[in-house]
Symmetry: D2
Subunit: 291 residues, 4 copies
C-alpha cells in the first residue's frame, strides 16, 4: 500500500492500535505476543485468535491502547515469531475506497450514505463508472465521479484508463458495487486482495451472467448475495459475507432481482464493515473473520 | 402403529375437502370453479390461485366443507374447465409414507416423532434401509423396519427388492431421509413425482457427493439444505423447500455437517408438511406451493 | 421532484386496477365478486382472499386489467355485497408520502433513495423535522425540507404547525422515520390509519424510550424492529412488519443500536412497499397483508 | 456440584481440558494465564476471552491438551489471578441431565434423540413429569421415567418429592422441557444457575401464561422462543439462546403454537449444546457465550 499525504495525516491521531499477526502455527504464540504488549504496558481491549490446523496457520487480531514506539514493537514481535510471519500494526482510521459501478444505484447509494454518515469506517475517494447514469447521485454528495466509457476503446485501454485514475485516487480498497464488467488479470494483480465484489447469487450457485434468471429457472426457494475478494477466476475469490432471502413461486426473475437488491446492499455493507475494521484475513481461498 | 384398513378409514370420515385444479390459463376460472362449489352449497374455507403467465398454466387449491356427491362435482368441474385439466378432489387424511434411510438417524428420528405425535399429517408404513443400523429406532416405535442390504446383489436386483417391498407397503410418498444411494430410472419412473429427497446443500450449489466438504473448500459463510422431488437428473428435481444457516471460519467440514443436520431435519419436515397437506403442485421443473 | 398535478396524472393512465373489498363474511363472496369482474370482461391477474373466522370478516384484493366504467363496477359490487362493506377500486400509482424525522438519517436516506429510484411505489411530497440536521440530505435530492422546531412552542402549537404543513402537502401517508416525539390524539385522529412508525424493538418487547438500552440490560440474543400504524396507545398500533437480527454478549447498547439500524431501515422499507401497493388491510388491531 | 461415583469415572479418561476463568478485569490476564499453560507444555487449541468493561469482569475459556497435574495448575493460576477469581479446570465429558416435562412431547423427544445419538454432549439420567403421558417415549429409549403427579399434594410436598428424586439422580443440569409449573424459591436455590427453561416466546415479550395467544392478540409478524436459566423472577433469568420465525395473518394461536414448536426444540437444543460444552458464563443477569 503506497503512502500518501492523506495517510500520514491519520497516523498521528491516537494511541489506539490494531495488531494483526499471521504466521505458521506453533505453541505459545498467544502467550508470547501478549507478553510483548504487556511489557510495553499496553491495555488489550479485544483479542481474537484462530489456528487453522489443516494448513498449520495462526491468525491473531488484537485491539489495544498504549503509547508505543510502533517500530520497536514490530521488531520485538518479529523476534518471537516464526520466520515469514506477517505483522501489521495499524492505527484505526477511515479506509479510503474507490467504488466502481455501472448503472444500478442501490449498492452505491447505500455505501455513499454509510460513508457520509460515518456508519462505515471509510471515505469514498471517488466513483468510477463505465456509464454516466449515476453521476448525480455521486456529485450531489460532493464526491468525484469519473465517467470512463468502455465503448470505442479496447478492453486493455479501458482498464489502463481506470488504473491511471486509481493511481491518482490512491484507494486502500476498490469496491465493485454492481460493476458489470470482468476485470483482466493485470488489473486484479495490481490490486491483489484489495478488490471486493458483490455477486448477486449465493455463490457458488449461479456463477456467471444473469444469476436471477438462472435462479428462477431452477425454481429455488431462497436467493442470496455474496461479497468476495476478486481473483482471476471469475466468481471464485475468497468469500467475505453471504446472506439469503426467501422467495416463492410468485417471484419471477424481476421480483427475485428486486428482493435480491436488498440482500446485495446489506451483504456488501457488512463485508465492508469487517474489511475496513481490519477484521478479515485471507487463508488460502477462504477468509478468517474476527467479528 | 397397527397396520389397519387405513385407506378405507380415510375415505369415509368427513365432509372436509381439498380441491386441486391445474389447467391451461383462461379468463374467469376462479369465478367458474367457485360457482360449482357455491351451487353445491359448499362453504369455502381457504382459496389459493396462481397463474404462471410464462407457461400459461393455472393452479388452484380450495379447502371447503359440504355434503357433496364427489363424482358429480368432478364432472361438473370438467365441463367448465379447458380440456386436459387435472382435477383432484381429496378428502383430508394421513398420507402414507415409506421412508428410506441409510445410517444417519437425524431426519428419520425427527419424522418418526412427528408422525407418531400427529405433528405431520402422515403415517409411516415402514422404513427400508440398506443398513441395519437404524432398526432399534424404528422398531421401538412399533414400525416395520426392512433391511435390504446392497452388498452382494446387483443394483438392479437391489432396486427390484425395494420395489417389491414398496408394492406391499403401498405408500403415497417415498421419502429419502439420508438414503445415500442413487435410484435408477425405472425406480424413479414407478414413483414419478412421489419421491422426496433431502439434499445436504443449498442446491444447485454443491451437487453430488460430500457437499459439506465442498462447502468448506469453497469457504462459504452460509450452508443449507434442499428438499426436492427426485427425477432422473441427479439433484435436479423440483425444489420444495430450502433453508440455510450461518457458518464461519471455525467450522471444519464436520462442524458444517453438524450444523447442517439441524437444517436438514427442519427442511425435510417442512417439505413433508406441505406435501402431505396437498399444498404442492409441479409446474415444469419448479413447484407452486400454497401455504 | 417538482410539485406537479400529480393526482390527476395517476388517475388517467392505465386500465390496471386494484380492487380491495372488506365486509362481513358470508358464503359465495369470491364467486360473486369475480363474477362482476368476469362479466365486465376484466382479466384477473392476482387474487387474494382471507376470512377471519373469529371476527367473521372477509378481505379480498384483486389485481385486474380491463377498460371499465369505475363507478358502475363499484355500484354492481355494492349490490352483491353485504351492507356496510368497504369497496375500493384503485388505479395503481405512486402514493404520496410526507416523512417526519428527527436527527437520525438512516431510515430517511434509505426511503429517499428508494423513492427517487422507483424502488418504492411512492413519491416524497416533503420532509418535516423538529431539527435542521437532515436538511442537506433532503434538499440535495430536490425535495422540500420543512424545519419546525419544537423548542419555545407548546406541544399543541407545534402539532398545529405540522398539521398546517401536512394540509398543504396532502400526503396519502405520514411516515415517522425516527421521529422521536409522541404525537397527540388530535393529530393521530386526523391521519387515522395513515401514520406509519418504525419502532426500534421487537414490539411488544421494550416499549417506550431507549429500547436498545433496555435490550442490553435484559441480555437478549436477538434484537428487532417493528413497523406499525400509529394509534393513541403508544407502541400499540397494528403491526405491519417485524424483523430481527442476532446479537451476542460483545454488543453493548451502542453496538445493538448500530446493528439495529440495518433492521430498522429494512423493516420500514418492507412495510412501505406493502402499504404503497395497497396490500395492507386493518383487521381490528391486527393487519391482513396480501403479499 | 456434588461428586459421585459417576463423576469420578469421567475424570481419568483423557488429556483434553477446558479451563474456565472468571475474575475482576486487570491488565495482562491473557498473557499470565496462557503463561501457566505454556510452561506446563500444554497445547492450546482454542481460546476465547471477553472483558465486560461495565462490570470490570474478565471471562476466559481455553481448550487445551496436555498431561497436567490438575491441582498444581489450579494453584498456579490462583497465584497469578486476582482474589475471588473463579477457576474451573474441566475434563470434557458428557453432562448429566434430568429433564422435567409435562405433556408436550416435542422438546423432550428432540433431546432424547440428541442424547441417545451423541449429538449433544450429555446423557439423560432420568425424566420427571407431573403427568404420565410421556412415559412410553422415555421408557422405549431405556431411560428412567418418574411420574410425580401434582394432584392431591401441596406444592411444597410436590417439590420435595422432585428434589428427593433429583438427589438420587445427581444431575449436572435440570432441563425444563415444557414443564408447565412454576418452581418455588427453595427449589431454584438448590439448583442455582443449573436449571434451564424453554419459554415459548421471544422474551421479554409475552411473559407468563399463553404466550401464543398473547402474540396472536397483538398481531405480531414474528414469534420466538427463549432458553434461559431459571431464577426466582418468573421468565427473568439470564438468556442463553433466542430464535424467531415469521408468521402472518393466516396464523391463529394454534398455528403459531405449531410453528413455535419447531423454534422451541431448536432453541433448547442449541442452548444445551453451549451449556454442556461449558461455553456459558453468567455475567449478572446476562450470559457470556463463547461459541
Amino acid at each position: 500500500m503506497r503512502q500518501s499525504a492523506w495517510k500520514k495525516r491519520r497516523k498521528s491521531v491516537s494511541d489506539q492500535w490494531r495488531l494483526l499477526v499471521e504466521c505458521a502455527d506453533q505453541e505459545g504464540l498467544v502467550h508470547k505476543i501478549t507478553g510483548v504488549l504487556y511489557r510495553a504496558q499496553c491495555n488489550v481491549l479485544v483479542n481474537h485468535e484462530f489456528a487453522d490446523l489443516n494448513r498449520s496457520r495462526f491468525f491473531m487480531r488484537t485491539e489495544f491502547s498504549g503509547s508505543i514506539a510502533r517500530d520497536a514493537i514490530i521488531d520485538e514481535l518479529r523476534q518471537i515469531l516464526p520466520p515469514e510471519s506477517s505483522v501489521r500494526l495499524i492505527c484505526p482510521g477511515k479506509k479510503r475506497l474507490v467504488i466502481m459501478a455501472s448503472r444500478e444505484h442501490h449498492c452505491l447509494a447505500d455505501l455513499v450514505t454509510r460513508c457520509v454518515y460515518d456508519e462505515l469506517d471509510a471515505e469514498i475517494a471517488g466513483v468510477i463508472s463505465n456509464h454516466d447514469t449515476l453521476r448525480p447521485l455521486v456529485e450531489m454528495n460532493g464526491l468525484p465521479f469519473v465517467h470512463l466509457p468502455h465503448e470505442d476503446v479496447s478492453r486493455d485501454e479501458h482498464e489502463r484508463q481506470i488504473l491511471e485514475k486509481l493511481d491518482e485516487l490512491q484507494p486502500d480498497y476498490v469496491v465493485l458495487a454492481k460493476y458489470m464488467r470482468i476485470l483482466g488479470p493485470e488489473f486484479v494483480k495490481r490490486f491483489s486482495n484489495r478488490i471486493i465484489n458483490i455477486h448477486h447469487s449465493f455463490l457458488p450457485a449461479f456463477i456467471g451472467a444473469k444469476p436471477y434468471h438462472q435462479a428462477w429457472e431452477r425454481g429455488v426457494k431462497v436467493i442470496g448475495a455474496t461479497a468476495h475478494f476478486v481473483t482471476n477466476e471469475l466468481d471464485q475469490g475468497p468469500i467475505i459475507e453471504q446472506q439469503v432471502i426467501n422467495v416463492d413461486h410468485t417471484h419471477g426473475p424481476k421480483d427475485m432481482a428486486r428482493a435480491g437488491r436488498d440482500v446485495e446492499r446489506m451483504v456488501l455493507a457488512r463485508a465492508l464493515r469487517v474489511v475496513t475494521e481490519d477484521r478479515v484475513f485471507l487463508n488460502g481461498n477462504r477468509t478468517v473473520i474476527f467479528d
